[in-house]
Symmetry: C2
Subunit: 385 residues, 2 copies
């Protein structure tokens, strides 16, 4: 049986197409009784309007495009979770565009532009150039970024308060009595990493601790490198008692290095991560880390986009509590939302050891030694970069 059209409904209800259309669009001009009758007919005949026809007539589409850099990262999945939860409640559907590295990113954006399918675009950024998106935005397409790397951009975006994130981690450590606190940097080309590092430095300063340059290790978000460098660091007599890493994957490598050196987490060395990916609750010991609110970021980004597309509705009843808005000329619309992080205290941190601990033995893993089997943590998954 062929799909019913508005004409059929009109006929069945003894009305004109116009009136049916009006009830479809919730016009207040239609008589409540009539309205009810039409609704009833639609219901009983299981009618749903053709979205193609609606889109054509109204001149706008019910889709929002979402570009993600592959789905295999925890972060992306978590953001999507938040996005989906708000889009689901809206009349929009998500068109998924996966921007794999191998593919020409510009071509993807081009495809989106020319297809004209999307009423707005949600982009979980990674390393891609932002210019094509900015051009798109200037040409009128609403775009909102979930700016994972904190890259500066004129586009409306939601990101994490990376600076403050590291500061709360440091404060936690300082409260526990640590004074020799090392920092394993990520990729300093990323603004998020610069911010995290600034947070580290400033928090140290606030605690009256003068930073020891020797305690900053450049890990490049690369676990093997981190493991090696941290092992070297721990072999030194003036080794730190705590280490903050710029993401969880890297923190795993730090923990690994600690074991490699015959030390223990947290008794000898406290370790703090950044991200709070799912696996961090299950490491041995469970990792204390700075949580990035990925689902909340997805929610905020989706609401922001819906708001700019539709003017207002898409109700965000309680606002994005706790988020700091800045930038936007026009309050509540554009600008950057910086989401607050929180410290998830688990078991990888504890009070600073009262006296320097002498390692039971020298590091088993040096630069040229293969990793010991079974020496500890396993998988390093969904890295932040």
């Amino acid at each position: 049986m062929p799909k019913l059209t508005i004409r059929d409904i009109a006929q069945l209800a003894g009305l004109s197409k116009s009136t049916v259309s009006l009830v479809l669009n919730n016009s207040p001009k239609v008589d409540p009784a009539t309205r009810e009758r039409v609704l009833e007919v639609m219901r009983s005949h299981n009618y749903t309007p053709s979205s193609a026809a609606t889109a054509l007539a109204k001149g706008r589409t019910p889709f929002i495009g979402m570009i993600v850099p592959g789905l295999t990262w925890h972060m992306v999945a978590a953001v999507n979770y938040g996005v989906a939860s708000v889009i689901e409640q809206s009349p929009y559907e998500i068109i998924l565009y996966t921007s794999t590295n191998e593919k020409d990113y510009t071509a993807l954006v081009e495809r989106i532009t020319t297809s004209g399918l999307s009423a707005g675009l949600l982009v979980v950024t990674h390393d891609q150039p932002l210019d094509p998106l900015e051009k798109l935005h200037r040409s009128g397409l609403p775009v909102v970024l979930v700016n994972t790397l904190g890259t500066p951009s004129s586009l409306p975006s939601v990101q994490t308060d990376n600076y403050e994130g590291t500061r709360i981690a440091l404060r936690h450590l300082v409260e526990l009595g640590h004074t020799r606190i090392a920092c394993v940097q990520g990729l300093m080309a990323y603004v998020c990493c610069q911010d995290r590092y600034r947070g580290y430095l400033d928090a140290l300063d606030e605690a009256g601790i003068s930073p020891d340059p020797g305690l900053t290790v450049d890990g490049g978000f690369h676990p093997p490198t981190v493991r090696e460098r941290v092992s070297e660091l721990l072999a030194r007599p003036d080794r730190p008692t705590a280490i903050v890493a710029q993401n969880d994957s890297t923190a795993y490598a730090v923990m690994q290095a600690v074991i490699d050196c015959g030390l223990r987490v947290p008794q000898d060395i406290s370790v703090v991560g950044f991200d709070d990916i799912a696996s961090s609750a299950d490491t041995h010991p469970p990792l204390t880390t700075v949580r990035q609110p990925f689902p909340e970021m997805g929610v905020a980004a989706a609401r922001m986009l819906l708001r700019t597309i539709d003017g207002d509705d898409a109700g965000a009843p309680d606002g994005d509590a706790g988020a700091v808005t800045s930038g936007g000329t026009d309050a509540g619309t554009a600008g950057t939302i910086s989401m607050p992080t929180s410290l998830i205290v688990r078991e990888s941190t504890t009070g600073a050891p009262s006296k320097p601990f002498t390692p039971a033995r020298t590091p088993a893993t040096g630069p040229d030694t293969p990793p010991r089997p079974w020496s500890g943590l396993g998988p390093n998954i969904s890295s932040q970069r």
Copy 2:
């Protein structure tokens, strides 16, 4: 500037809308020269047809819906990767529907049906009831399942050859000289688990080994349970020399249990997983496991769907090499595709120890003992269930 329409192009080219439409649709009836001219005009003016109008006029939409059970599982992400790679080359876009547990699954299906947006549906199944999908399919909407649990269904689907998968794992162990091989079952309610278990039993039989019921442990795909049960198993004097687990997450728990008991992988106990999720290459030692070809499954499913939607094109030039098709009344269309697995041999398996090994100490982790910190593997992520 307003978007160009077919009328504008016609005017600019000095032709009628009809002709322009014909070139848009690659009609052979149009004069090559004319065609070229039209194409040139479209190109220079950056014209792209309105998909809403096209959809309305043609009576079909350029979307394929994809239902996924949340994005946080490696499996789903990997399948999506394959799906995206083929859809990308087609005129279709993916509408993403995330079916979270909390949500009414039937409502989702209902929404998809009534929106009429999708020309076909790709479903990465999990635990959901298949009936709504079967109804949908009977009503004419092409549906293809990526049947992760091997649940029997009349719907066209692609799945893994679970039976054969376990058999190759067992053959590998038998070749290494193992004869006491334990099996950690998953959830036996799932057909995939039943198949894997049958594979285990049959392979044993083929090797002339009579199965010891004591070597089958019911793990329910629950890592803590597995760790505990396997620890108990290993404490027995007649413990196995090899253990196959029904997924990788569970294999991690098995490795954990081996350490708990003061034994080593693979010297004392060989361990084999199932899935080959990303993290399995990075465990200590790297896990030997049966690879499920998730991306390939995505590719196969997408091609299958495209084929049933569009009759034939959507070129799958080399066919789905290696896959076994069965069922389909009408060759190459419906039915179930069973994808071959492969054994990824890494370092968690080795020759059977020649003589029973005496543990250095008794298990440190019993049912009531908390896990030792640092005793081994960390995160258990993206479990198969």
